[in-house]
Amino acid sequence: MKSVKVVVVGAGVVGFSTAVCVAETLPSCSVTLLADKFTPDTTSDGAAGIVFTAKFPDIPLEQQRRWFKESFEHFLAIAQSQHSSEAGVLMSSGWQVFKEVPADTKPFWSDVVLGFRPMTARELKRFPDHKFGQAFTTVKCECSSYLPWLEKRFRKAGGQVERRKVNNLQELSQSYDIIVNCSGLGSKTLAGDTQVYPVRGQVLKVQAPWLHHFIRDGDGKTYIYPGIHSVTIGGTRQEGDWRLEVDEGDTRSIVDRCSRLEPSLSKATLLGEWVGLRPSKKNPRVQRELVLLQGRRVPVVHNYGHGAWGVSLSWGTALDALGLVRQCVDEMTPRARL
């Protein structure tokens, strides 16, 4: 009997992943997902979706590993299944190259991805500006396909979807028992979180079907990610920059830097440009709290602030958020759960 009314705010990769986890796992919950933007207009849609991650300063390493491992294995299983193309999840091999040898040559996620190893001297020869590199196989998740696929799963599990802009949590407190906040940058207003800030990223989508490897500069600013129908090249990392318009200077800089890594890009045809604002925070917030809303103490589970690692950590953080929702459900009085 679905007696606990859960609302998930946000229809990006974190919102839908969390909504699916709750809807599929907690039989006592009826789940509604609300958002003002849906695919293809979410931040997730423009992201290339290559899965690996960075280290956050304040989250226990064990938890970060779990977030990444669970996400990676989730995507790997899809990539290996017959659903790969429909879900937009594929295996991708390539290289991460560094101009200077990094302090940490073996990041904590290196044993989660496949076949991680340092690049050989011959492999590095192709990158004359770079002294060190890592080769590995990971997965790529294209949200323009993955989000619709998640929505299908969500609806199949009984989930309801509604297009609606949520201006504050008060609006939801009367209709729902548990609020799950996956509103990304929107948490600035929705959760009153002053520590959330955008990191602007611009990318180009080009036609270069002969490229079958990802190439990324370890500084995170220059990358080439071949996808199913196009190659995403980028990028920029402009902290505090809210501009959603394409910047011509950035375009030139991206083409320049990426062509240095992969000269054949000069033969690629431009398909389009896109700008997204990475919903960044010092550490992602996956946490629950009780919020006083219109006289009621409403449990709120937060799952936002993934920055550049939304896709990469989506499933792992969704599972953590699911655990927090479950705790909220368990703590509710028996009468409420009938």
Binding site: L90, L114, G115, E123, A135, P209, W210, H212, H213
Partner: protein, 345 residues
Amino acid sequence: MRVAVIGAGVIGLSTAQSIYDQYHSIVSPLTIEVYADCFTPLTTSDGAAGFWQPYLYDEGKIQETKWNKETFDYLLSCLSSPDSVKMGVFLQSGYNLFSEPTPDPSFKDIVLGFRHLTKKELQIFPGYSYGWFNTALMLEGKSYLPWLMDWLQKRGVKFYQRKIESFKELAETGADVIINCTGMRSGELQPDPELKPGRGQIVKVDAPWLKHWILTHDLTKGVYNSPYIIPGSRLVTVGGVFQLGNWSTQNNSTDHKNIWDSACELEPSLKHARIVDDWTGLRPVRSKVRLERETIPAGATTIEVIHNYGHGGFGLTIHRGCAQEAARLFGQIVKQKGRGPRARL
């Protein structure tokens, strides 16, 4: 000097290129002509997936390994040239899969980043318990051959669509040297019991989410008789069969079914791939590549022939090394005939 190349597949065209490259400034005039009854996109080279990988072991044929390496290194250097996309050359990584531990291949130090598969990787391929990962090159015949023809045409090489019936025929028109790059049908110019067809059939599909090649091996069934999936720049080539002695160039529906069923088992996502085409080709199989000179008596004179055929399923893989070697043999003929630089003094 007049050089007549017979055959316009990857072997014929690349040999013409190497001879031009090495001798056009040494032998003057140097006329090169290419004769063939079929040209791109109808040659065996066009239908092949275009994947660089020799057979696993060279069985002592170290010359072939040397030519394979020369080809790989040459193509690797072409990657950074502005022509790379037109040439159809690009890098692709992938998997060689086995059901038991297998000794490392002859090409392990030629390719990039060769390593054994980890336990986690093997879990992706149920039914296979051992394997390798490496980065290799793709060279798509449908791009490479037109690029070669363009390269040759710009340098004055002439092409003639004509089936040559005998070496004598060409010698009589005044060719000084004949380069025999006739692949599967070399036997029609000169019987060769060692040359046999290794029939292959493939299915070409649209599956752009696949970015790795996967080759399985059943060491009891022999090379290419086990499923393989090789993504190209546009379509994915799915195979494989290797039927020694089968001359049929018709697509066979039983072969199609076997290839397709076993490939879908290997890569479940293929069930959603759109099938575009089927193709059958005959690999020109021989115990070893025939790359040698032959001086054939013809009445009062002799005909100088350089044979360059019998590359089986590794023509694209070995082409450059063989072309350079054939050019070297041509150089020997030039010296013998006194047509070299010294002759011009």
